[in-house]
Symmetry: C2
C-alpha cells in the first residue's frame, strides 16, 4: 500500500499561530508533534516509510523536510502552488506513474486531521483493500454524532460487503434542518476527505471524468520525461481547473464505496474544534501547566507564558511572538475576518 | 515650598506589569511617562527641582535615578525598607532637618496617583499656603462623584477661610450604605493622601502624638550626625511602628484643615480604575493602536503586540515577557489572589 499525504494547505483558521509560512499541518496543536508528523506516525506498521509520499507546495518543502527528516527526499511531491484536490492528486498520480505498479493501492490522507483511535483507523484501511482491488473508489464516512452543518455528507446505498456500502450520492454542507434529518434518518456520513483506491482505477476515473486535467498531466509527464526541455511545469499546472476531487471524480464516478467509521475523527477546522477535542482540566480549561485560574471555565489558552485567568469563561486566547488573539470560543471561526483585514491592509508580517 | 514624593510602594495590583522590582510608580500606564515622572512634572513652575525630594526604598533607588536623572543625588531619601507612611514621612523630616528652614512648607505627595487638571492642582497648593503658615496640617479632600467604598473619607467642619474647612474627623473606608449617606449629605471628601504643612508644625505633631517614633528619629539624627558610628539606621528603623500618617498624626492633631478639590484625581488602585480613566475608542476599548476588534466593547489591553478581539467584552488583558493575565474588568482587584498564590508557591521570578 502507498500512502499519499496532502500537506499543501495554507489555512488561516488557526491565526495567529498558523501563518502563510507555517500552516496548520506544521503546528503542534493536537499533541507533542505536528499534525503532519502525527499523520505519518498513524500509518506505522501499515505502510512503510519508503511508500509514504507527501504532496506539498513549493513554499513548504523545507518545512516538510524539517518535520520528516527520515522521509526519502524523492517522496516529496512538489505542487508549484496550491490548487485544489483534483489537480493535486492528479499531479501526485503523474509523479507515481512508472514508480509504482498500476495495481498498487493508494490511501490518500489530509495531513491536518485528528484521528483518536489509530487501531480502528488501521482496521478501516484493511477493510478497504478488497473493494479497492475490485475497482471501487473507496471513501471513509464518519458516523455523525451531531447534526453538523460544517461538513459535506455521503449518503450510503446498498451494502457491497460487510460494513461497506455503495455511495448513493455526495451532499454539500447541509442547512441545520437537513443535517438534523440526515442524523435522524441514518445512512449519512461526514465526508472525511480520505480515499482508498487502486492506481489504475483512479487514473481511469481521471481520464473519464476530468479529461482536461488528464491532458495536462500527460503534458507534465512528457516534460518530466524530457527533463523539462523548454517547458515549465508551473505554466502547465497553472492551467488546471481548481476542482475538488469529490466533485471532479467521486461524484461522477460509477464504482464508489463508503466505509462508515467511528474513530474519533475531526478535521479540526477552528480553535473551538481544537478546544473541543483537547484534554482539559476539571473546569473544562485547556491552559498551560503554569497557570492560575479562578472562577474561569471553558477557556483554551495557547501561550508559553504563565497564564492567570480570573472570572472569564469560554475564551480562546492565543499568544505568539507578534500577536494576541482573544475570541469568544463560539465565534472562533471569525478569526478569518481578522486575517481578511490584515490581508486587505497588507500587514504581511502578520500573515 | 518643598515637595516630598513618596515612591517606595510595592503594589501588586498591576501584576503582571508591576513586579517587586518594578512597582506601579515606575510604570508608564497613565501616559507616555511613568507615574513618578508625571508626579514630578506636575509640580513644574511651582516647586524647583532642587526642592523636590523622593523618599524610596533602598531596592528602588536605582529606578528612581533612572526615571529622574535630572534630580540632585542628595534629594533621594532612602528608607531601609518600606514601613508605613508615618515612619516614612518621619524619616524624611529627619533627613530634611537642618537642610531646610523650620518655617518652610512641605507638600507631601504619593508618586502613583493620577491628577488630570494640573492647573487646579497647582491652585490648591497655593490655597494651602496661608493655613499652613498659620500652623494647620492641611489635607486635600477629593469631591466624591460616586459613593466609593474603597477610600477613606474626611468629614469637613467649619470654614476656616474661603474654600478651606476644619477637619471634623477622618473616616475609615465605609460600607456601601454609609458611603451613599456621605454622598447625599455632602461635606465628606475622599482622603487623597496628600498633605501640606509647615516643617515645624508637623515635627511638633510627631513629638506630641508619636513620641516613640520621634525618639527613634532622634536616634537616627544622632547616628547620621556621627557618621553612623557603630549604629545601624536599619536596626533603628526596624523598631518603628507600622502606622499610617492619617492615624498616627492627622487623627489626633488639633489644627487640621481640608481643601475640597475636584481635579480628576484617582489613586488608580486596580486595572479597572486605570481602564476607567484611560482614553478609549468609540467602543470603550483601550487597546494598542495596531489591532483588530469585532463586536468587542469595554476591553483594556496592554501589550506591544498586534491584538485581535472578537466577540469579547469587559476584559482586561495584560501581557508581559513572562505572563498573561485575562481578567473580567469588574474583578480586576482579585489579581491580588494570583499574586498571593505565586507568593505561596515561591514562584519568585513571576513576582
Amino acid at each position: 500500500m502507498i500512502a499519499l499525504i496532502m500537506a499543501g494547505g495554507s489555512g488561516t483558521r488557526f491565526w495567529p499561530l498558523s501563518r502563510q509560512s507555517r500552516p496548520k499541518q506544521f503546528l503542534r496543536i493536537a499533541g507533542d508533534k505536528s499534525m503532519l508528523q502525527l499523520t505519518v506516525e498513524r500509518l506505522q506498521g501499515a505502510v512503510e516509510l519508503k511508500d509514504i509520499y507527501i504532496v506539498t507546495a513549493q513554499s513548504q518543502v523545507a518545512l516538510v523536510r524539517e518535520h520528516l527528516p527520515q522521509l526519502p527526499q524523492d517522496n516529496i511531491i512538489i505542487e508549484p502552488f496550491g490548487m485544489n484536490t483534483a489537480p493535486c492528486i492528479g499531479l501526485s498520480l503523474a509523479y507515481l506513474h512508472g514508480r509504482i505498479s498500476p495495481d498498487e493501492s493508494i490511501i490518500v490522507l489530509p495531513s491536518d486531521h485528528v484521528i483518536k483511535d489509530t487501531e480502528l483507523f488501521l482496521q478501516s484501511l484493511k477493510q478497504a483493500e478488497a473493494p479497492a482491488k475490485e475497482g471501487y473508489l473507496v471513501t471513509f464516512g464518519i458516523v455523525p454524532d451531531y447534526p453538523a452543518t460544517g461538513y459535506g455528507y455521503i449518503e450510503a446505498g446498498e451494502a457491497v460487503s460487510e460494513g461497506i456500502f455503495s455511495v448513493k450520492r455526495f451532499k454539500e454542507k447541509p442547512d441545520a434542518d437537513t443535517a438534523a434529518t440526515f442524523l435522524k434518518q441514518g445512512g449519512f456520513y461526514w465526508n472525511s476527505g480520505m480515499f482508498y483506491w487502486k492506481y489504475s482505477s483512479v487514473w481511469a476515473a481521471f481520464e473519464q471524468h476530468l479529461p482536461q486535467v488528464t491532458a495536462l498531466l500527460e503534458e507534465i509527464l512528457f516534460a518530466w520525461k524530457h527533463h523539462n526541455a523548454g517547458v515549465s511545469i508551473t505554466d502547465i499546472y497553472s492551467r488546471m481547473p481548481r476542482v475538488p476531487i469529490d466533485i471532479g471524480i467521486m461524484e461522477p464516478a460509477e464504482k464508489r464505496a463508503v466505509i462508515p467509521v467511528d474513530y474519533g475523527w475531526s478535521d479540526v477546522g477552528s480553535w473551538k474544534a481544537l478546544a473541543d477535542i483537547s484534554p482539559s482540566d476539571e473546569n473544562d480549561n485547556c491552559i498551560p501547566q503554569k497557570h492560575f485560574a479562578l472562577d474561569s471555565r471553558g477557556n483554551y489558552v495557547n501561550s508559553d507564558k504563565f497564564v492567570a485567568l480570573i472570572g472569564v469563561d469560554n475564551l480562546v486566547v492565543i499568544e505568539t511572538d507578534d500577536a494576541i488573539l482573544v475570541v469568544d470560543r463560539e465565534r472562533s471561526e471569525e478569526v478569518k475576518k481578522a486575517v481578511d483585514t490584515l490581508t486587505a491592509d497588507k500587514l504581511d508580517n502578520l500573515l
